[in-house]
């Protein structure tokens, strides 16, 4: 949807302009207008977790967040977690541990894992499972995802 008013969003530390109507979701804006396609549209019902982002430091489903209701908030996607253009230690750990099969869930998994590790830098297997319980991997590649989160270098 491109109708609506012009809004400014704080996305990954930059101010970005977009057009949104009252019911346009944040996910539609960041994927279709702002070109960040890490967050995926899976279920569009808040169930699958593929669109998980951070809003003001809290986890959020971009598909359940209205774009107009996100103005003024700090939005961070998986792309925004890179460090000086390089993968963060967590992102590198997903690569090193082969924690990617089809890749559709990966951005959401990394954002949820990032949030978990902020509160708990060395989680147990059960704590990782709890922390990622809102993210579905339909390839069922959970073992390596859990390994990736627990094996972050320096974590």
């Amino acid at each position: 949807m491109s109708s609506g008013e012009t809004i400014s969003l704080k996305l990954n530390g930059e101010v970005r302009e977009a057009t949104a109507g009252p019911t346009t979701t944040l996910l539609e804006v960041i994927r279709e207008q702002l070109g960040l396609t890490g967050a995926k549209k899976g279920c569009n019902q808040g169930v699958c977790g593929a669109c998980t982002v951070l809003i003001d430091g809290k986890l959020a489903r971009a598909c359940l967040s209205l774009a107009v209701n996100s103005v003024g908030r700090e939005i961070t996607t998986n792309e925004g977690l890179t460090e000086d253009g390089e993968p963060s230690p967590l992102q590198q750990s997903f690569i090193d541990n082969g924690a990617v099969q089809c890749g559709f869930c990966t951005s959401g998994m990394i954002v949820s894992s990032h949030h978990l590790l902020q509160d708990n830098p060395s989680p147990s297997v059960d704590e990782v499972r709890d922390g990622l319980s809102g993210n579905v991997c339909r390839c069922s590649g959970y073992k390596k995802i859990i390994d990736a989160v627990r094996n972050v270098a320096g974590g």
Binding site: G4, K58, S133, G134
Partner: protein
């Protein structure tokens, strides 16, 4: 369809005025339920009223009458760690910590959850056991409705068109009470098959306060005040617990769904009740 309107009021009065002016308008709190319904085109409101700048709705505070006021916009993640919830009232923080998954707990709000009133939701069960009340602002000012009268039927509450939940009022916990929230779900993060909330206090061997509510097993949370009262002043032994669990099971009206059959839920209720009361007794230091 014409494009919906959008407003960001800053006071409860403004919200009530906006709702009164447009009976197809909807308030947006966390968005977790409403935006999912918008995406599925199950609702098409004419106006969305964002509550995010209404300061009054965002805080937890102790009122002069000793009751706790939990603003409607307080998120589940913050209820789960609220230091203001002490003793038996911790049944509410335990319930909040078991809602769905970390993402939904970071988005969803207590007012949004109870207003939507999915009968498998966690808050209604705990709030029924606590004897909480709901403060509602409407065209005729504010009123407070007890939990026992607020939850009416599947997805139906005492909210009238134009009403806004402003806060959840939680009474002071009974002295020395303990709270236990028990939820059985197929996997972490799923809706519960059945839930039990217990608030209990003892004086020596005798029960001095008891509230037990059952959720997920009928249109509204189930409480049997007469059966609770009958146990006050006595020892609460295995037979008494079994008897209460059986009565709650008999009073339940569960449905068959994808998570469990109604018959399974009927069997489950006394077992969850026994487990929850057992944990409350342990917390209260009664090993009998």
């Amino acid at each position: 369809m014409t494009e919906a309107g959008y407003s960001e009021p800053v006071s409860v009065d403004e919200v009530v005025t906006l709702l009164a002016a447009d009976d197809e308008a909807k308030c947006v709190a966390g968005g977790a339920s409403l935006v999912a319904m918008l995406n599925a085109r199950l609702v098409e409101p004419s106006r969305l009223i964002s509550l995010r700048h209404v300061e009054e709705l965002q805080k937890i505070e102790l009122a002069e009458d000793g009751w706790l006021r939990i603003g409607a916009l307080v998120q589940h993640c913050d209820v789960a760690i609220a230091a203001e919830l002490t003793e038996g009232n911790q049944v509410l923080s335990q319930a909040a910590g078991l809602i769905a998954n970390p993402v939904i707990r970071d988005m969803g709000t207590i007012g949004g959850s109870v207003g939507h009133f999915d009968p498998a939701a966690d808050y209604p069960v705990a709030l029924a056991a606590l004897g909480a009340e709901f403060e509602i602002a409407g065209a005729n000012g504010r009123r407070s409705i007890p939990a026992s009268e607020f939850f009416i039927d599947w997805y139906e509450t005492a909210l009238a068109p134009g009403d806004l939940i402003t806060c959840i009022r939680v009474p002071p916990p009974p002295a020395g009470s303990a709270g236990v929230y028990e939820k059985l779900a197929k996997v972490k993060g799923d809706m519960g098959i059945a839930m039990v909330a217990v608030v209990m206090a003892m004086e020596g061997d005798a029960v001095s306060h008891l509230a037990v509510s059952v959720g997920g097993c009928g249109p509204t949370p189930i409480r049997l005040s007469d059966a609770e009262q009958a146990l006050i002043g006595g020892r609460i032994d295995e037979a008494a617990i079994q008897n209460l669990g059986d009565k709650l099971s008999a009073a339940s009206d569960p449905v068959d769904d994808v998570r469990a059959s109604a018959a399974y839920r009927k069997i489950l209720i006394p077992r969850l009740v026994a487990r929850a009361i057992g944990q409350a007794k342990t917390k209260l230091g009664d090993g009998s």
